[in-house]
């Protein structure tokens, strides 16, 4: 197998820094397992040296099991870089908002241009990418990563080691996060941060691999029983391990302990603080032992005997000591506001969370009351988790899987399930970028190809930017008589005659037709087409023994037109569509602290935007500080749009209802990203793609129960059956947006439901359809 290359600005065994250590460990451990591993790095010795000096010789050199290639760094202007960097660091954290470049014009580019760069390395990547199986780039914020990754994007895995800091908001960082093939996260918290910053488009290519912890290898040594005069086996104590200073919140813990002692004067539980740092803590407080810096051996001894480990810090990106404590079966307590540690504890169930001083004080009491078995039970859960994410063997297994290093992975799953037919083509009236039906045809084509069928898409009308995906239909050219044909029927098209006469096996997929009377006033031409579509349906029925609708609701139309037992093939809605940047102006406008209530759908009477405006007005009068965003095409002169506008004016909501119109995907992306609630009053949805999209964006959905909506939502969202009681609806909306518990429950339902619309989820239904065609 071709080698895997790790790309990192600096490389060496004894380099300080999380990413450098990680690269050393992972590359060496993979090499030890017999994989061909190379490291592509610079001649610069370390982060602390001058980035434009070549301390080490360029060229390839063997080091252990690795081949290390070093490249010369470019000359750079350090002053310019420092200027840009200090500008970046001066930006207050509250000004950092996802999707908005916080660097004012030019400084961001300067930061990248004068970073550590190596043209030689870039050139190497460009010319030799075919020699490698995959590239792992880490960490995210250096020039060689930002500029190097795009050259080999389709083979690249990014291990960003992402922090919530100003650099993470650089457009260049978004560029590599979106462009790379896969993302390796160190922790669940990091994954969550990436989701917040870049949306759901990158969700499915990310994988939490974890980071191994080495120190527990020490346990074979005999551990001391006493540390600094403290008898470890006799005393019950809570341990706080790590840097002792303000940023690590040690003072909070001391204060909490004092509170605990005040309310429990005879409590036996002690607090032991250990780690580097100048300041002394709790000198005069009885029961607190500040040991300062301790040896590794003492540290292990302290960890193995403690009642629990408390980690009060609020800004940890990955806390090694938590994993260590878990390896000793000890429970931990962490700060609930620290994303990385809190998520780990939450996921593991190996401890507890606290925020305020009172809560921490209570924790001391809770821990002191717990018996050894209870403590062990928590610790055991933590240990399970640590084994998953902090034991090198498991972590390296995961790297192997993600990077596709098992030779069996590559050849899996091609052409096994093909039956009878050799080619199955699809015929669709129109084909355009971003259109749900067009996306569906592409996904079906890919699924068919995966199974070994030849498959192409033919269409009557094609968007010029999509010519590489589909072919123009010309009197059936390219569709032989014996091939299978899937015909997508929506509005009346000139294809009906052709498909009726097609002699080969065929099936029909029906996408909802809006009842023509609903659009006749607004767009008479469209109404005629829709009518034609419905008429055609009954002509098609006798010719298509195999048919499917997007939803059960749509199947009813089919049955009424004479189709026999149509099946359901839901529209595939995958989040990858949103792996595009959000529109920055819209992001800026919508992240102003107001509640954003969103509905996506054409402005037509049957989607009931008028009801939504009324409901919104009610919500506004009760709570204020909110905005309604109506995304969806409309014609300026159309009466429905005009009446909506008038309604908004009469309600005095002119500044608070945004008619966004038909928008680009980038703007729609911004709307979804910033929305706090998706609220539908619609009375006619044949399937409801936006509902599923909202679920992917983790927006709680509140929807009127009508047409196909309950079917599409499944266990996601909250349905209502009565449009009249607006006050009650407004409160429900409020709870969905602002009650953390209700919101979390709704979102977890939606997380489960949305998976039903992934390509792999609709595969069985597609298979059934294809089997039907084969007879």
């Amino acid at each position: 197998m071709k080698p895997v290359a790790f790309v990192i600005p600096w490389f060496g065994e004894n380099l300080k820094g999380g990413a450098e250590q990680l690269a050393w460990q992972v590359s060496n451990r993979l090499a030890k397992r017999g994989h061909a591993i190379e490291v592509l790095t610079t001649c610069c010795a370390s982060f602390l040296e001058d980035w434009s000096t070549n301390h080490l010789p360029a060229g390839a050199r063997k080091s252990g099991g690795l081949l290390v290639r070093r490249f010369k760094v470019d000359k750079r202007n350090g002053d310019h870089f420092n200027h840009a960097n200090s500008h970046a660091l001066a930006i207050p954290p509250e000004n950092l908002k996802p999707g908005i470049n916080p660097f004012t014009f030019g400084t961001g580019e300067l930061f990248v241009a004068e970073n550590i760069n190596s043209l030689a390395l870039e050139r190497y990547l460009k010319w030799h990418k075919n020699r490698y199986h995959a590239f792992v780039f880490l960490p995210y914020l250096y020039g060689i990563i930002l500029k190097g990754l795009p050259h080999v994007a389709e083979k690249s895995f990014l291990q960003p080691c992402l922090h919530d800091e100003v650099y993470a908001y650089l457009p260049e960082v978004e560029n590599i996060m979106r462009g790379c093939r896969g993302i390796l996260y160190n922790s669940l918290g990091e994954e969550r941060l990436a989701h917040t910053l870049f949306g759901p488009g990158i969700d499915r290519k990310g994988e939490v691999v974890g980071v191994g912890v080495e120190s527990f290898d020490l346990t074979h040594q005999e551990l001391p029983r006493q540390v600094a005069g403290l008898d470890l086996e006799e005393e019950r104590y809570v341990l706080c391990l790590g840097r002792r200073d303000k940023t690590k919140n040690t003072a909070l813990l001391v204060e909490a302990y004092q509170k605990y002692r005040k309310s429990h004067p005879d409590g036996r539980l002690k607090l032991v603080i250990a780690g580097p740092g100048e300041e002394k803590f709790g000198v005069s407080v009885q029961g607190i032992y500040d040991l300062g810096l301790v040896s590794e051996l003492d540290k292990e001894a302290l960890l193995s005997h403690c009642t629990a480990l408390f980690q009060p810090s609020r800004n940890e990106s990955y806390s090694r000591v938590i994993m260590e404590a878990w390896f000793y079966n000890r429970p931990v307590a962490v700060h609930a506001e620290c994303l990385a540690t809190a998520m780990a504890v939450d996921a593991a169930g190996g401890g507890v969370l606290a925020t305020s001083c009172e809560e921490w004080a209570q924790l001391f009491d809770v821990i002191s009351r717990m018996g050894e078995s209870e403590l062990c039970e928590l610790g055991e859960k933590g240990r399970e988790y640590a084994r998953q994410y902090a034991e090198w063997d498991v972590v390296i297994d995961r790297y192997e899987k993600v990077l596709g290093l098992h030779s069996s992975d590559a050849s899996a799953g091609k052409g096994q399930s093909r039956t009878g037919l050799r080619s199955i083509h699809q015929l669709v009236p129109g084909f355009a970028y971003g259109d749900a039906i067009s996306n569906q045809t592409m996904i079906i084509r890919d699924l068919l190809k995966k199974q070994g069928y030849k498959s192409e898409i033919f269409t009557e009308q094609i968007d010029p930017s999509m010519t590489h995906e589909a072919r123009l239909f010309k009197d059936g050219k390219g569709i032989k008589a014996n091939v299978g044909l899937i015909y997508h029927h929506s509005i009346g098209a000139g294809l009906t005659d052709f498909v009726v006469n097609h002699p080969g096996p065929k099936s029909l997929i029906y996408h909802n037709i809006t009842p023509p009377e609903l659009v006749r006033d607004a767009d008479p031409q469209l109404a005629v087409k829709l009518e034609q579509g419905l008429k055609d349906l009954s002509r098609l029925a006798p010719n298509f023994p195999v048919s499917a609708g997007d939803s059960r609701f749509n199947c009813r139309d089919l049955e009424e037109s004479g189709f026999i037992s149509p099946s359901v093939l839901p529209i595939c809605v995958a989040p990858e569509k949103w792996n595009i940047p959000a529109e920055p102006n819209m992001m800026m406008r919508l992240q102003d602290g107001k509640d954003n209530i969103l509905f996506v759908g054409r402005l037509v009477a049957n989607k009931c935007q008028h009801d939504l405006v009324n409901a919104f007005a009610e919500y506004f009068s009760m709570y204020g500080n909110c905005r309604l965003i109506l995304v969806g095409g409309f014609i300026e002169k159309e009466s429905y749009y005009q009446s909506l506008k008038e309604q908004v004016r009469l309600r005095g909501l002119e500044g608070d209802v945004l008619f966004a119109g038909k928008v680009t995907d980038n703007i729609l992306h911004s709307c979804y990203r910033c929305a706090d609630l998706f609220w539908s009053m619609s009375e006619h949805e044949g399937f409801g793609v936006p509902l599923v999209e909202a679920m992917w964006f983790d927006i709680p959905v509140l929807a009127y129960k009508s047409s196909a909506i309950p079917e599409t939502l499944g266990e996601g969202g909250l349905l209502f059956t009565d449009k009249q009681n607006l006050k009650e609806l407004a409160v429900a909306a409020r709870l969905l947006m602002h009650d953390p518990d209700v919101r979390a429950r709704i979102l977890s339902g939606q997380k489960r439901r949305r998976k039903a619309f992934l390509p792999e989820a609709i595969q069985p239904q597609l298979d059934a359809l294809v089997r039907g065609m084969n007879g």
Binding site: T104, F105, T467, H468, R471, L472, E583, P584, N585, M586, R589, D592, G593, K594, F620, S621, M622, Y623, G624, N625, R627, G655, D656, L658, F659, A660, G661, V663, T664, N666, I667, K705, P710, L713, G714, E715, G716, G717, L718, L719, F720, T721, D722, N725, K727, E728, V731, A732, R734, L735, D739, V742, R745, I746, S748, G749
Partner: protein, 416 residues
Amino acid sequence: MLETKNPEIDIAQLLERIGLELKRQQKSVAGGQNRVVPEELAINDPYSWGQLSSTLNVAEQNVNAGAEVTSMLHYRGIIRKIARFLGKVTVFLGRVITIPQRNFNSALLHCFRITLDGIRDMNRQTALFEQQVSRRMEQMERLLREKAALVDYLKTGLVVQERRTSILLEELRRQVVEDNGSPESSGHRLTDLDILDPLYLAFENQFRGTREEIRDRLLEYLPLIRATGAGASGREILDIGCGRGEWLGIMQDEGLSARGLDLNHVLVQECRERGFEVVENDALSYLRSLPDNSLGAITSFHLIEHLGFNERIALFDESVRVLKPGGIALFETPNPRNLLVGSCNFWADPTHLRPLYPETHQFLMEYRGFCRVELLFLHPHEGEQRLPEDEAPQLAARLNEVFSCARDYTVLGYKA
């Protein structure tokens, strides 16, 4: 009315929470005033900004036009290979033009982005300026209003001073006449009350309420007066203590014949300027000067609390005497049943003597010869000033009864 298939959601519990929240909402009516952030500074139609920016994105995507050959997937087989080859040749030859063109494109795009940023900043600043200007304008208007009020006050003062000067002159003249041996003295005497007249006017302006407010309140009496036929010729209405003449104004507008009576020279002057007929005199001496059965109605608003007991009895007696049969007399005064009025507000006017107990008042009028004597309780606190009655209804109702009930009452009676 809510439904979900999500097993984690307990609908009954959710509905209960919604009910609780609704109750809480009803209590705090202030929800509607939450409108905090004004919608976007300056950028009036930010959506078109978004479009502008996405148009630029499109331009950006095409900035490198002519650098690569398209994949030509619509051709197949050998044709595609030839097409690709020809394409590459074209692209290579075209570089003479496309390279400077691409440079030009990206330079222009760069310029656009900078300009766009600049315009956006400028827009934001304009909005800030607009806000500042409108704030300043408001300040100016407020200042102007204050100045206008001051001018009015000075004008009144001037009138008073003129009058005093003329009295002094008169006095002087009288003195001269006396010195010359003439026994008659007919001039006006300067009294303490005269000095207080403008003060009382200023006080009324500050404490009694605006003309419009008072007018609105007084309109309630119109049907009562109309029912007795007062105001027709021969059934004139007399308003004792007519003050600034709000009631006389109503009478004039309604075409009813009415006359005012007041002791305060400044107020009388003001009423006369407005074209009302007003007598400057004290109530009792004027009533005594009128013949029996000569008036259709006697009204008096917030006067009797300035009178002593004997004067009040005399007022009732005289009123009965001068009214025509069927005539009405009504007297409005602060209501001491309202605890706030009785214990505090009543004493805002330093010339008030004492609060009058409604039923005593009613009794006195009946006793002095009026018939069908009634009490009307008026002007209770309404809306937000009342204690909401939904939490502890009994307590709130009780408290409202003493603190928010009618602030004034009127006792009225008819001559048989």
